[in-house]
Symmetry: C2
């Protein structure tokens, strides 16, 4: 097992040497898929998902029996700029709701047999307002990445990183704008429900944050503009990669964390599938930049990992079909 990184430089080393999927398991899964009792291709994307899972799980007959939903919460200095429809107190209130089982993600995790972990990252110490200074110091960034890294259960066979953090769509928009260019207006949306004036304030904050940047290095961008929960999700996604645990990406904020990895190392998201297209306007733009096609498009815009958790059922079903079906020979069915 790869040792726990102790420095940002260690994280960069992990990014420079990512494990590949198991080519033999992929070949074996492809061969099996061709023999299952269905017309070729008739299970559509479920077939691709099963073969992708096979590569990361290192088995021609993958299963999803121990999915983990890992939620990270952070607070954001940029809320001082009036970018959210909810007060920042809601972050800690929602963490309590997660703990007591009352949030949407609790129901979804239970529905799909996932365990759920919650890490609240220094909620009483918000990141700095990124329009004025870097959101996180190097030590803050390291601590947040490590929180994510350590949150992943090495026994999990599928990971859904999710988040809660009033103000974090603004942080995510700033990261996306910094990494992929375009106008601030291309990347900001209504989040939990800001009005037109709030939307303008979000765009202005993104503009100011991006204008302050002195480095385009993805981890530097993350420190300058990111929230702790966004860095933690990036750390969790990276840890999952080292453990070859497949990941389902949630919405706009989770994908901003993924984007940092995507630009830091080619193929860094090969172990990730996009769970859904959020109603947050810029999410589809971000998914396109990540070359990911979402599994679901049901108009969710909640965060908490909810869209990705909903997709656990799809990924699990893909594995069950692939690994549980009979072959033509086993079933005595004419292969057409």
């Amino acid at each position: 097992m790869i040792p726990t990184p102790a420095t940002i430089a260690d994280f960069r080393k992990v990014l420079a040497d990512l494990p590949a999927p198991d080519a033999a398991a992929i070949s074996a899964a492809q061969a099996r898929n061709a023999q299952l009792t269905k017309p070729p291709g008739a299970l559509g994307r479920l077939e691709d998902l099963a073969i992708w899972l096979a590569g990361w799980q290192g088995s021609a007959t993958p299963r999803v029996t121990k999915p983990q939903v890992a939620i990270f919460a952070g607070n954001h200095g940029v809320v001082a700029k009036g970018v959210s429809a909810f007060p920042p107190e809601v972050t800690v209130q929602m963490v309590a709701n997660f703990t007591h089982g009352g949030a949407a993600i609790n129901q979804l995790a239970r529905c799909f047999g996932a365990t759920m972990t919650v890490d609240a990252l220094e909620l009483d110490r918000p990141t700095a307002d990124f329009t004025e200074t870097d959101a996180m110091s190097p030590d803050d960034l390291l601590a947040a990445l490590l929180t994510g890294w350590n949150a992943v259960n090495p026994e999990a066979d599928l990971l859904v990183p999710g988040e809660m953090g009033i103000g974090n769509t603004t942080s995510a928009a700033a990261i996306a704008c910094a990494l992929f260019g375009g106008a601030p207006e291309d990347w900001v949306g209504r989040g939990t429900g800001v009005d037109d004036a709030g939307l303008s304030r979000k765009a202005a904050a993104v503009q100011a944050g991006v204008a302050r940047l002195t480095s385009q290095d993805p981890l530097d961008v993350l420190a300058a503009l990111g929230g702790r929960e966004i860095a933690a999700m990036a750390g969790a996604m990276l840890r999952a990669r080292t453990l070859r645990i497949p990941v389902i990406l949630d919405g706009f904020i989770a994908c901003s964390a993924a984007a940092v990895l995507h630009l830091a190392a080619p193929g860094a998201l090969d172990h990730c599938v996009a769970g859904h297209a959020s109603a947050e306007a810029a999410h589809s733009r971000l998914l396109a930049a990540l070359n990911k096609t979402p599994l679901l498009s049901l108009g969710l815009r909640l965060g908490e990992g909810s869209g990705a958790a909903l997709a656990i059922g799809i990924v699990k079903a893909a594995a069950e079909c692939h690994s549980g079906m009979s072959t033509f020979a086993e079933a005595g069915v004419a292969a057409g």
Copy 2:
């Protein structure tokens, strides 16, 4: 409980007096939805699904704990016209595969906690070739409708009707063409994988079948062009309505059965949601004709109820979120 129909006329009476959803349960569910710990609308279509379920289950806190997948199989005289890539023997072979648990639908039903029933409708007595004579006599139609009617478990809280029948995309295309007009080419597709010549033969068969029709009455169209499994699905969907059991519609063939009900009685599909958009080309056209927006679009084209079974997870998750989440007051979260 509505007595079991004894004649086609009895089925027409059922269609003329369909039960409505529970308006009080819908109002109560809407009020509850507004109080749940999430921004308004943030669960997207899950919110609509939960309220729809509430109406049919007659409860402000609906749940899906006893879903049923009901599979019907039939054989088709029109296969003599070379319309399928698979021989008709595959229908009975696949029924055996269902019975032994080896098909995709078995894995999906188990994955989502559904019971599964299988009715094979006189597989050794295919329907007549509809290009030459009516596919089913009135007695055949009645028997098939009753098979579907009787297959529904009154204790189920969600129903997925599915099918197996070599040649049945041609029957479904003929029904759709007869009911909604357009050219045969608009409604035929590759089914289990016919080549271009097979596709032309399918269009010619549809043309011939529709040209033979002497009545536009939906049940007459079903008798003239339908397969037994299509009629059985229609019977099951109708029985579910009388029991106020919500239904998830599968692909092109299941939707051709639904289309018969849709044209036979206004609002006959109000208890139905479209589970997915199939890769079978005409399915999206048929969904549009039924005014249904699919929950999933993952390129499946297998039948067996597979796309709808995959959507059980979505519907179940909608109910779990709605009925399991805390309200703002319960959780002590600021409502924004």
